[in-house]
Symmetry: C2
Subunit: 739 residues, 2 copies
């Protein structure tokens, strides 16, 4: 699902650190502290930022040097004492003096970047332009138009060519400012230069410069044959014309139905010519994970058939568009999901690495190009853990730097592996790490969160050769002055009796073990996401804390089907989404009911998106277990979900009718007994309103009584003040019916 429940990722990004305790238990705090307001806890709340933001510094790399980006100056980070001030490179005044000829000014330097390892050039963006300033000569040496209205853009630092999309059509602006329009038939139905296949298969963009920036690969998607979902624009504040609502059609290919057609073009700046990869009829084919050969002569991509069971790595001649070779194939009887392009070794243009879950976990493989084929040289990583992200290469040591959960299934730490497969942890592996590498990868700035303890977030300068760390910044827990409830984690056995599942349990604030509390389960449960991890407060959501403060036990369990636990764990749900997931959640309920302070007659459940599907499924499948549920933006029947994500896990309604029937909430509408509130974004383009509304219709026909709310004009997730309103609404519902 493209957009996950927003607050989780957002809090992850904002909340970070400390030494992980063995029993994953946070000591009860003794001091009398203030209570949270909901604005303290929900993104969009008026005090959210100040109440949650663990202070950190902005940094960027200039070659191998780390630069601290300040409000009014940029300084090198001191490599012997990270916290001491390093050499000043330039001030905001310097920059604005230099920019006077460029027609824009900077307000701060937090977003400055250094595209050239050796040249004293800083890249700055503002007011429809980007510019390079030489901070030694204090001169603007180059300017290029870069309008915020561009629907997409991609810039190559080497060539300084910019590709962009404007009013649906594709343009290239070269380093001299010469603009060329590459297409004229772009529309909302013929989409150029943007992410395709609904952002699945790791696709996030549609413009891909070759390493040298001389050739541009780009996506083109014809979706004119796809059914338009009739989103309604309420037209609440028309500037002119009728105030009547308007239709805003959004092409949405539903599982088993006609899908869009994607082709890949290549534009050669020197010749000014565009060719399209000669791949044949694009019907029911996915072209994913585009990569360039270092010499700009070959485009690689992973093609997947519509069944998503058969993949191949194909090479195309970038000049002619002709198909060159299939380098290897990859098949899976359930599904194969490529999510990262191949990456050539910076020191060897005939070798590349490739990440796949071929052996059941996501691991890095080293391949050697061999004429028209590729030979597997070595599986570089191996074990019952998942490689998360390849951050880059340490070119000095010839290692791959990456993150994985090797040391803790719910953690994320830094590692390096050499070409022989020798793997080294880069310092502390506790907590949740996220790093940026220097140009040659010898250094990383690691920004990491600790689940417990007084320090919430730490920034370390890491020597990726030795793993040696220099602490650059420590941030205290911004919740230090608040009355924080006790947050615990642990494991339970899944319904299969063998698999460990992680849970998080939050006790009511000011917990009294003699009392009986209502409990609320927060659930997501789908692939590509997890809820319990070693980030700050074990990943607890702000709303969990709010509910704990309101007297609820809050519980969360990452069931089979969720991410980071290997392919079997994920594929346990294949072809019948929801069924195994619910069985696991019921194990969590057994545990909850075993707790003496939980009132087993007052158990609620809440989730969004896949979690909305889980909530609705749980309320209708186990009507005697859950008294109250709040389902947000739910999938109700996978037949209304899109082709790429939906068919991967469920195949098609035609080929898997039993699975669709078993997982459909429509067939269980008559079972609803407790109080269920369904909330959806009025213009949800992900889980379209047809899901929720078809369920409401089914309940009416079945004489059952769900409740409903909508956020008119909102999409899959509520943002800003709407998000606060949403969580007050959700809370109100539990207060009305579970308290």
């Amino acid at each position: 699902m493209r957009i996950k429940h927003f607050s989780f990722a957002f809090i992850l990004a904002l909340l970070p650190i400390s030494v992980m305790s063995q029993n994953r238990q946070m000591p009860v705090r003794a001091k009398i502290k203030k209570n949270f307001t909901i604005d303290d806890l929900i993104p969009g709340g008026s005090t959210f930022y100040q109440s949650n933001y663990a202070k950190r510094k902005y940094t960027a790399f200039w070659g191998e040097k780390c630069v601290e980006l300040g409000l009014d100056e940029c300084r090198l980070v001191n490599r012997t004492d990270g916290t001491a001030e390093g050499e000043q490179l330039f001030t905001l005044t310097d920059i604005n003096t230099a920019l006077s000829s460029a027609g824009f000014r900077m307000q701060h330097l937090y977003e400055a970047s250094f595209p050239y390892s050796t040249d004293p050039l800083v890249l700055l963006k503002g007011k429809g332009k980007q510019a390079l300033v030489n901070w030694q000569t204090k001169q603007t040496v180059w300017i290029q138009t870069l309008e915020s209205s561009y629907e997409a853009s991609d810039w190559n630092a080497k060539s300084r060519n910019l590709a962009f999309v404007k009013e649906h059509n594709l343009y290239v602006c070269d380093a001299n400012g010469t603009e060329k329009q590459l297409t004229t038939d772009g529309t909302s139905d013929m989409v150029y230069g943007k992410s395709v296949h609904r952002d699945e298969f790791g696709i996030e963009k549609g413009l891909f410069w070759s390493d040298q920036g001389d050739k541009l690969a780009f996506y083109r998607m014809d979706q004119s044959m796809v059914s338009p979902y009739p989103q309604v624009d309420l037209n609440l504040d028309p500037e002119e014309g009728s105030r009547c609502a308007k239709v805003a059609p959004d092409r949405y290919p539903m599982a088993g139905e006609t899908s869009h057609k994607v082709t890949v073009g290549v534009y050669d700046v020197a010749s000014g010519k565009t060719v399209y990869l000669n791949a044949g009829d694009p019907t029911d084919r996915y072209f994913t994970n585009i990569a360039w050969s270092p010499d700009s002569k070959t485009v690689y991509l992973i093609e997947l058939d519509r069944s998503q069971k058969h993949a191949k790595l194909d090479a195309y001649n970038a000049e002619t568009g002709q198909f060159t070779a299939t380098l290897f194939r990859e098949d899976n009887s359930k599904y194969f999901e490529p999510r990262t392009p191949i990456q050539f070794l910076p020191w060897d243009s005939k070798r590349f690495i490739y990440a796949t879950r071929r052996d059941g976990y996501n691991h890095i493989y080293l391949y050697k190009l061999d004429g028209n084929s590729a030979t597997l040289e070595r599986q570089l990583t191996k074990g019952q853990f998942e490689v998360f992200n390849v951050l880059g290469f340490n070119q000095k040591e010839k290692t791959v730097v990456f993150t994985s959960n090797e040391s803790d299934p719910i953690g994320c730490a830094l590692y390096a592996v050499d070409m022989k497969g020798k793997r080294t942890a880069l310092g502390d592996t506790g907590g949740w790490h996220s790093a940026v590498l220097s140009d040659a990868g010898t250094t990383a700035m690691d920004s990491w969160a600790m689940p417990e303890g007084p320090i919430a977030h730490r920034q370390d300068l890491v020597d990726t050769s030795t793993g040696k760390r220099l602490t650059f910044m420590d941030s205290q827990d911004p919740w230090d002055n608040f009355n924080v409830p006790e947050i615990k984690t642990g494991t339970l056995k899944a319904a299969d009796g063998v698999t460990d599942l992680y849970y998080r349990l939050i006790l009511p604030t000011n917990f009294n073990p003699e009392e009986k509390y209502p409990a609320v389960v927060y659930v997501y449960g789908g692939p590509h996401a997890h809820n319990i991890d070693a980030s700050r407060h074990w990943g607890a959501r702000g709303w969990d804390i709010w509910m704990a403060q309101n007297g609820y036990v809050m519980f969360c369990l990452d069931n089979r089907g969720s991410e980071h636990r290997g392919l079997d764990f994920e594929q346990a749900t294949f072809k019948h989404l929801g069924v195994e997931e619910m069985k696991d959640q019921l194990k969590g309920i057994d545990y909850l009911k075993s707790l003496p302070y939980v009132d087993g007659d007052r158990i609620g459940v809440h989730g969004w998106s896949f979690g909305g599907f889980m909530t609705t499924s749980l309320m209708t499948t186990y009507p005697d277990v859950f008294k109250v549920g709040v389902a947000g933006g739910p999938v109700i029947d996978w037949k209304y979900y899109e082709v790429m994500y939906g068919e991967r896990y469920m195949e098609t309604p035609q080929s898997n009718p039993e699975g669709y029937a078993a997982s459909s909430c429509l067939n269980k509408a008559d079972k609803l007994k407790g109080r269920l509130l369904i909330i959806y974004g009025g213009n949800d383009p992900v889980c379209v309103p047809q899901h929720t509304l078809s369920f409401i219709r089914a309940c009416i026909d079945a004489d059952t009584y769900p409740d409903l709310f909508t956020y008119p004009g909102d999409e899959h997730n509520m943002m800003g003040s709407d998000r606060v309103h949403l969580h007050k609404k959700i809370t109100q519902y539990f207060e009305d019916f579970l308290k």
Copy 2:
């Protein structure tokens, strides 16, 4: 508003009789009786019909003779003893034997009719055909195609010509079965032969035969210039193609915006030619109340300008379409609303009657045609009462037979008036009467409901010359075996201090004067409707009874602005709908709070359509008075309502911005304090979803917390089992938050 709250009218039609008591109070019943189920009380409930239907007989007139239409026979009604059997005309077997050549059979004779006063011919309809059977010769003498798929149709008995609309185009089929297609450009945007101007101005149809049936006047409406409201078809059960929801655009002209254009055509069967009335540019003009001269040579209509302040009765030459004359004009500084066409006297083709509220109440006026003008000869009725319907003419006595509320402001009784203005009540004036006249009007079958007493409904054969009545059928109260709560009515002073307003008060079933009960106000409050009348149980709604049984005091008050009380009473609300209405409702609240058994802290309010507007307005204008509200299909801001109804009462958003602002619920979203549930039909074409959704958006923005529900696929009112679900849902909300 085109469609009123459904159940009210429906129960009116089904529930009828008795002698009206002076104090309008029903004695508490002593016998132990059974309680109602909700299915007993709500239309669409499985037991509603049997629990509510006061038995009656089907009748029709054959000339001056009244015929009882039975399951398997038709008999004349005995004129000396209405309840004794009269002469048998024919049996179902006779008819089906005769129809064997016609290709269809009848299952019963309840819908037989007798179009010819003297010939023994009965008209029967079935299976795409209509036929005339001579019951003396037992032969089918004539057959014509009459498909149920026709979008509209109108048949003239004299000529036996049939006009109909099929796939948007207009056809005429003559008595010989020759079909002629009159138009080819009909679409959903170019509408032929149907009601126009959104059924306002008394318009109910679009096909009008002349008296002789030789010429057909018809409406044509071009609405291609009107904004299409994007209704969404959820496409829940597609037979083929995509299962994705679809847009179903519905042209909806909003107040102050571009409206449709209506023209009137006349087709001459003899010449086969169509002319359009030469009225000029139809922009912003309403052509209403089409009438024919008795000689088929002239078409009359009442034209109203868009401001609805200026009307004129115009005559057009039916052969050439040329404008002939404006016979008279009628103006009103607020608005003038013509609702009935002129009617020529059957005995004098130069004189016609015309009903207007010119003097403040709806009365009948006699005009004489005088060349190109019309002279007012006499105001036939006069007084502080309203003429409801002209039923027809007693040709023997030369009187007009009509209904009015002369004897009781909340009653409806039969009267006749002669050409001198002498008015006679036709028998009992208590209760609520509804009659059908014989061909020459000497006799009427009066079907009437009594508000109280053991007899619920009575059918009388009335001599319209003498007023003498012969009781044909008495029906017992179908609620006789139920535990019916006490139902009272009375009057209160309006907020103006002088006007009497009628209320209805229902005590909780098994009322205990020592208890404190919550009270719920049911409100409509808009023009063209009332809630309290002398029909069965004083017009109490089934849901009122259900709520009374659940322990609520139920209250209803017809405020200023509602119907049947004269023009000043209605126009008190002009240009600021809701404001005066609410002041009157607050007088009702004062009264409720004065009752020792009402808990003034637990007052709720519910209403639909205009009543949904009132409910939302009351909840946001008087947030400390009402604890709980349920608003159905509400108007939220009159700027989203349609041109004809909306501009009549509110003028345009451009000309009356203060009035629109004062009556808008959007501007009061921040005042919401109590619990308000808004329910709307997912495809409401009357109060489009934009109303409710814009209010929800305004509340979110204002940090207030309404609740919401929708009936996907339903229009302005819920029907059948959805209606039962709706009332369970509404009840649940009061049980959740007001109990």
